[in-house]
């Protein structure tokens, strides 16, 4: 299995079509092609972080600045960022639009991803973070746009889970 070139492009185009030109990310395999496109696009400002929790702060800064922003991370990165999500974003009503690569779920061959994959949905529910699964390349652009819109109107973190169906080919 390889990362889907076509769907990575569709997701990147979806981010752009949602009016977003600012991205924070910690690179991971499924997000690699997508981030490559962001790096090559002169209109897009990409901030790579050392750990995902930093991106919660950067996203808050972008929000205060009035710049539409999206966070790209693996689900294990989401798990690593929880205190920032709770004690910055949720505490201060700062919206976050998070695109989260859902590793360790249906079809996962690598044992090291599995525990994080198994708990991701439960943790999102416990935190009260609205989420949806993105499986269909024909729908993901609309899902990104709607995720961003909902984050802004609810002043809440929202998560779009990028699944294996979408990210691998």
């Amino acid at each position: 299995m390889t990362v889907s070139y076509d769907n990575s492009k569709i997701i990147f185009d979806g981010i752009r079509a949602a009016g977003i030109r600012s991205i924070s990310a910690l690179p991971e395999t499924w997000l690699g092609l997508l981030l490559g496109r962001a790096e090559d696009d002169p209109d897009v400002q990409l901030v790579q972080v050392a750990k995902e929790e930093e991106a919660i702060g950067i996203a808050a800064g972008a929000y205060f600045a009035g710049t539409p922003h999206v966070l790209l991370m693996q689900n294990h990165g989401f798990l690593a960022a929880i205190n920032g999500i709770v004690s910055l974003a949720q505490l201060y009503h700062v919206p976050l639009c998070m695109l989260v690569a859902l590793r360790g779920h249906w079809g996962e061959p690598y044992p090291w991803h599995t525990r994080g994959g198994i708990v991701t949905e439960g943790v999102l529910r416990a935190l009260g973070i609205p989420f949806e699964y993105a499986r269909d390349p024909e729908k993901v652009g609309k899902q990104i746009r709607e995720a961003f819109t909902f984050s802004q109107s609810s002043l809440s973190p929202v998560a779009l889970l990028l699944t294996r169906d979408l990210m691998e080919s």
Partner: protein, 194 residues
């Protein structure tokens, strides 16, 4: 050197800048000098003040951003120095008040106590070019003025005593602080555009 004295020295300069402060004693001392709409008090999420500062600085290149950090907070997010060094926003001044103590959470000693861990050296090692290490009020004031004049990413590590205010409390709800801070920025953007 007392942090409250340092804040008092730079307070007049903060009037037209975006200020992000960490929780606890530092936030309270800034608030007691006089609350302003352009201050964001990060009362939790330790470690992320400098990340908020980076997000502000990168997206508002015409504003100056001042981050008031502490040793306990920055030790929770040492990666921030590397991220700051990579993107080196020229409009960001990152001040780390190093009191060697987790003062606001019980006064436990931090890793910087007795100079065991050198935060300025970590910042330099991360790749930040302009790092000042100061332990007197005069040196702090000079380093701050130099940082403002430099027009390049600057880190100031200021050794301060582990003392805080005698009282805590603000007439400011946390979401209110966020709404107000964002509104101040948007009003500045509109004023600059007109």
């Amino acid at each position: 050197m007392q942090r409250a004295r340092c804040l008092e020295m730079i307070y007049p300069e903060l009037e037209d800048k975006l200020v992000v402060t960490i929780m606890g004693a530092c936030a309270q001392e800034l608030y007691d000098l006089g609350d302003r709409d352009n201050y964001f008090y990060l009362q939790h999420a330790m470690g992320l003040a400098s990340s908020i500062g980076l997000g502000l600085a990168m997206h508002l290149p015409h504003e100056r951003v001042i981050v008031l950090d502490g040793d306990g907070s920055v030790l929770m997010n040492l990666g921030t120095f590397a991220t700051l060094a990579r993107y080196r926003p020229r409009n960001l001044v990152h001040i780390v008040f190093d009191n060697g103590s987790l003062l606001s959470t019980g006064g436990f000693t931090s890793h910087t106590t007795s100079g065991v861990t050198d935060l300025a050296a970590i910042a330099r090692g991360a790749g930040i070019e302009h790092v000042a290490s100061v332990d007197s009020a005069v040196a702090f004031g000079e380093a701050f003025v130099e940082a403002l004049e430099r027009d390049a990413l600057s880190v100031i590590v200021a050794k301060v005593d582990a003392v805080g205010p005698e009282h805590y409390g603000m007439d400011l709800q946390l979401p209110e602080n966020a709404f107000r801070f964002k509104r101040w920025i948007q009003q500045r953007k509109r004023a600059a555009a007109s």
